[in-house]
Symmetry: C2
Subunit: 248 residues, 2 copies
DNA sequence: AAGGTATTGTTGTCAGACAACCTGACTAAT
DNA sequence: ATTAGTCAGGTTGTCTGACAACAATACCTT
């Protein structure tokens, strides 16, 4: 009983450890392969579900499950009564970052680098385009974060809000969404580091100062200064292997 | 007969015009809403397929189709015999760019900007890290592209290979993949522009020179020069509204 | 009490059917 | 002859029911 409770309440440990390869996944890969290898070209008709289930010797339900995934990935689309067709830009409407984190530290570093680039550019663009409203929002988030941290909290939400306010100031919603996407991927990884780092009141002052420098650069409309401020901030806060010193 | 042929051979124009909202899509949205609104928290168990089909008054097949999509989006995962569970970082393993292009020119400009940022940074990083092999690859691709264009071709593939060789030189595969993702989204849009631009032999020389400047900066290990060379190159080649001059 | 077994529940797969919809051919009316 | 309407066949979307594979628990035998 105790063990079972433990198993169930075990907090999100096991990412879907692959058991045996699911049939539907195999079918998905097979069909996607047909498209990626250009055997089926954009606009062409995909064989009917019945044909596929006959050819692959699986049930139509399994074929449908595979097609559902491919539709969602943007490889094919279907019209009721007509059939399924290969999409114009197969597979290029989604950018996936799957089981990369926490497996290989190198991969983590790669994502960190992507985040760093994105946030540096966000800050630079924000410095060019920010409105007074944007600026107010940044300051509000920073104040909240500092307040929370001085009360012993992590201030993680406020930190996210801070970076988001910078991304919003670029006026580019797609860029902002991507910053969000990359940011959330990395921040979780940082949480534990942050906790220990925050024990030092010294580092806490550093963080506040680093954020202030970012805001000041954006307020003064100095893109390069903003970029460098973000770069410094992230380098200080992210203890990941330095890619520049790794063999490539 | 003639009309039907025309309809069929019409080259990939109409994205799947939404007919009536599919049931499975409605279910997908409903379930995703439960997760995004934090009614179902990460790690929690999702109701069984049977329960869901009873509650929503749809068949289990439809529920499964919805769950298939959500699994693929990274909102949930399932284990045979146990059940389905909300993922740790719901929905954050995919970055989607859906029906944005060619509908709204502003959106196109936003993606162009993202591409420009990514490629500038790729070039800058490449300037720091490129190997001689990388450099050789860039030159090879450029030579091929120029050759094709002088023979009246577009040299699109070679152009893609050129930019990819720069992305590869960063040594960051995730960044390279993202550059590929964004690049292919924008390049198709450019194709028609390029065609007319290439008619001018003058512009053709420009393009070659611009590419050469990029390579030279990377060869000389000058990150900022490489960044600016890419920036110039993209600004010359992309006739999109300048975001800096748009009201924000 | 411990270990093996049966039972129950859940997801994965299969099979068949009907509904909604598209296409093309055929028919009938003008 | 042209046009409109109807019908038939094919395809995807949804429904129903069943079995297989697997996990967890309850039970039973030793």
């Amino acid at each position: 009983m105790a063990t079972s409770m433990l198993m169930d309440s075990e907090p999100n440990v096991i990412p879907p450890i692959s058991r045996r390869p699911l049939l539907s996944v195999a079918v998905t890969d097979a069909l996607r392969g047909k498209i990626e290898s250009a055997v089926w070209v954009p606009g062409a008709r995909v064989p009917t579900e019945k044909d596929l289930s006959a050819q692959l010797n699986v049930s139509r339900a399994t074929v449908r499950e595979a097609l559902t995934r491919l539709k969602h990935e943007g490889y094919v689309y279907s019209v009721q009564g007509k059939g399924a067709f290969v999409a114009d830009k197969p597979g290029l409407n989604t950018f996936r970052v799957d089981q990369l984190l926490s497996e290989n530290p190198i991969d983590s570093a790669h994502i960190f680098e992507l985040r760093s680039l994105v946030e540096q550019n966000c800050a630079a663009l924000a410095a060019e385009r920010r409105s007074v409203t944007n600026l107010r929002e940044m300051k509000r988030a920073l104040k909240k974060m500092v307040c929370e941290q001085k009360n012993g909290g992590l201030g993680l939400e406020a930190d996210i809000a801070f970076h988001r306010s910078i991304a919003d100031a670029t006026g580019n919603p797609i860029l902002a969404r991507f910053a969000d996407f990359v940011g959330k991927h990395t921040r979780e990884y940082l949480q534990v580091v942050r906790l220990s780092a925050l024990k030092s009141a010294h580092r806490l002052d550093d963080i506040e100062r680093e954020h202030m420098e970012i805001i000041e650069a954006i307020e003064a409309r100095k893109p390069e200064a903003a970029r460098k401020a973000v770069s410094r901030h992230l380098e200080n806060g992210t203890p990941h292997p330095d890619l520049r010193r790794l063999p490539l």
